[in-house]
Symmetry: C2
Subunit: 477 residues, 2 copies
């Protein structure tokens, strides 16, 4: 193949892949000659070939542009309407890779506008995005160049102060010097786990447990041991004590408030008991408290952290459920492991982007957060009732439903014969997503359970979707 | 202690720590009563006590506010002027923890306005931050709520397209479907390494090597083996071949373009040779190409990726050196390991924040990037010459200097008797930072080397600082 043909083929391929879009200019002849290390004549020859293929056109004094009609030359099925590349939705195999299943569910919601009962995230339209946009906008107007070193770990000082202030307001004094800002609670949990345990170690978790905890354990080459967890009281402390007596446990990971998927709020006495049991064995505990502000009761629930006297609780949280998910602002209060977590943050992602940190700090400094949260809590409480009532109406006998004390998910036990993976597939074919129960365990438990998200506003479409789900369940039961 | 005293003490402590700042309102009596689970009377009692201590004052119809004078009650040395908490600068011990040393250097620059010769980052004032701010601003005005799932891994589709377009323009066609957006190159390198090697594995690196590579290897429980690296030609391929013949190497990590700290550009023939050697043994190679756009020659240098026929090159890069550091936008082109890297990204940090991705995509869609880069390259080339000339003038005989082909750091070999850790300490005492050579190896090599950053504009102060450094070196030699 000649040089000019090779260059023309490269550009053709780039257009086919959408790298150069219709109407966009391709590199100038001089620039292409330099960067590809070929003569001007070769580039001119290549561009003429592209013109003859109908891929580009010249515009006087401007250069070469991708023709609007260029894409017609290519197979249509690789592109969605609107010219966007087709999403890379991975097919879900029988032997399920849970993280791939989660990602696939999310992509289905995006690509096919599927009903988001399977989403783990809150409805973003409930976030106070107008206000947050105002702060982001003001920052872009006032801030000159950002210096990376201003907000290095532990993070932006004003954001750290505002987070500490929020805890103080909620009756849980914390030392701002303990806070490490992370990229969402996801990173906080990963770093905390790495700070306290090493590959090969065993980590005790709830059962069912939030799958991101299982992923973190698996990814770091550790083993999870699942401990029976009560839908109202939380992790079974006697069962945990027996596990600890039997084998070496490097750490424990729990979600004492509005656990995903069970929705319970662990009673204070049990939180204290859990902290004391673990302290007696000097076992660190990672407390995932991301739903802390989404309580249905009168006040913010207590935390394991508030009962901790030995610095063994690594408390992780974020604003992703209550304020803004796409800003990715989370934090850890790592107790005696603070130095390790801060160092791991530095090594893992260097630092969390500055502007989102400052925008959230600015938002918190004003006094609208409480008002926003009161509204969100009310909405979630109402929507929990509506969804519970409708599941009761549409689903067959033998269905049992959790009673969440906060957060935005229901845990639904289906008649035993129903396989929730089959339900997942059948629902997806009808543009409805659900969270299959087997995601929440490594033991193939909970196959006849599903998790349903009720954060989205209730519509005729979602009501019809829930009815369809109920019918599918009835057929499978 | 009585309940009201306990509450008053908690708030006093929060004020001392800066959680409630001077002039800020503390929680209302009703809210505090709810959240602390005490009576209204107890809160009133506690607040009266705080008033008598001079910590808060009442304002009619508004509530209780922290007094401007409240801070005088506390020890002054825990606070800097301006009320900011003192930075947590860790003392550097004799047995050096390299990541702590790096972080400590950066904090010194921030806290004490030290001369930033020791910084690994480029001068942020050279970034086109006015333009980027405009895009960030426009996004905040046009965008409604952000949906987390829009930009899930692999990342924002338009940003991915723009990155692929940039490669295509530079004569290196890539498949946009291969790109995974990360939080800076730091995360890209960490995920790539985890995708190809496991704890206990051995990874071959250059010597000297960029310390973040060593950190990634150490953090994942792997072992680094350091291979002699030539200041002009790059890693010694014969030496690497011998290492491979002797032991199992799980992966190789290199920086073929403008290596930090040596600054070389590996010749094309050697890049090809390296890729072929590794392909013959099916060893994946992580290519750190963060300085790709900061070349001093005529055109963008080739990459290992461009010689890869087997998908064994995991190419990592970012905009942090060339466009904006605080946005933290990096990416990986992981070859045959794409699915693993995408999944690890999802598990590690879920997703990169949306707004910075969109702002960078918007910036790239316009045509200012090349003009900006031409300017930056010219500045760095000039500043490299100036610093080289001044090191020659100020430093004693026996000093040798690298000849960087791009990037913004010089590698300086000092007379053999000079201990660069002692130099680091002595310089820091004079508010000058340097990068001690032992950071770039785990073998205690390079003790008489330092790395100097020349990205900052040359001033009388920096010239004086370099003169001081030269004098310190002469004293120690």
């Amino acid at each position: 193949m000649k040089l000019y043909e090779k260059l023309a083929d490269e550009i053709t391929e780039a257009v086919r892949r959408g790298v150069f879009a219709a109407g966009e200019r391709i590199p100038s002849v001089r620039y292409a000659s330099q960067q590809h290390g070929v003569s001007i004549k070769t580039v001119l020859h290549a561009y003429a070939l592209l013109e003859s293929r109908g891929i580009v056109e010249t515009r006087p004094q401007s250069g070469y542009f991708v023709r609007e009609a260029a894409l017609q030359a290519f197979r249509p099925e690789t592109r969605l309407p609107g010219g966007k590349p087709a999403p890379l939705v991975a097919p879900v195999a029988a032997e399920v890779d849970v993280s791939r299943l989660v990602l696939s569910t999310l992509r289905s919601i995006r690509a096919h506008d599927a009903v988001p009962f399977g989403s783990p995230y809150p409805d973003p339209s409930l976030f106070p995005w107008r206000r947050i946009n105002q702060y982001a906008n003001a920052i872009a107007r006032r801030q000159a160049s950002w210096n990376l070193i201003d907000d290095l770990p532990p993070g932006n000082p004003e954001l750290i102060r505002q987070i500490a202030r929020r805890y103080a307001e909620n009756g849980m004094p914390v030392d701002p010097g303990e806070i490490v800002i992370t990229l969402g609670a996801t990173e906080a949990i990963n770093l905390s786990l790495q700070a306290v345990a090493k590959p090969g170690d065993t980590v005790a978790v709830e059962s069912p447990t939030y799958y991101a905890m299982l992923h973190a354990i698996e990814r770091l080459g550790m083993r999870a041991i699942e401990v029976t967890t009560h839908p109202v009281d939380g992790i079974d402390i006697d069962a945990l004590a027996q596990v600890i007596a039997r084998q070496k446990i490097a750490a424990c990971m729990v979600m004492p408030n509005f656990q995903n998927p069970l929705g319970f709020q662990m009673p204070d006495a049990r939180k204290r008991q859990l902290v004391e049991l673990l302290a007696a064995h000097q076992i660190p505990v990672i407390e995932n408290d991301v739903y802390q502000e989404l309580y249905f009761g009168e006040t913010r629930p207590s935390t394991l952290k508030s009962f901790d006297t030995q610095g063994l609780v690594l408390h992780c949280a974020s604003f992703s459920k209550s304020l803004t998910a796409s800003y990715r602002i989370g934090w850890a209060l790592p107790g005696r492991y603070r130095a390790q977590v801060e160092k791991l943050k530095f090594l893992n992602t260097l630092t969390t982007p500055s502007a989102p940190q400052v925008a959230v700090a600015d938002y918190l400094r004003q006094d609208g957060y409480d008002r926003h949260l009161r509204h969100v809590r009310k909405v979630y409480r109402q929507q929990a009732s509506i969804m519970t009532a409708l599941v009761r109406r549409f689903f067959p006998a033998g269905t049992r439903i959790s009673t969440p004390q906060g957060g935005y998910v229901l845990w639904v036990e289906l008649p035993e014969r129903v396989d929730s993976m089959r339900l997942y597939q059948a629902a997806l074919a009808r543009s409805i997503t659900v969270g299959p129960g087997m995601m929440f365990s490594t033991r193939n438990d909970f196959r006849h359970f599903i998790r349903l998200n009720y954060s989205y506003p209730w519509t005729a479409q979602s009501e019809a979707a829930l009815k369809t789900l109920g019918e599918l369940v009835a057929q499978m039961a």
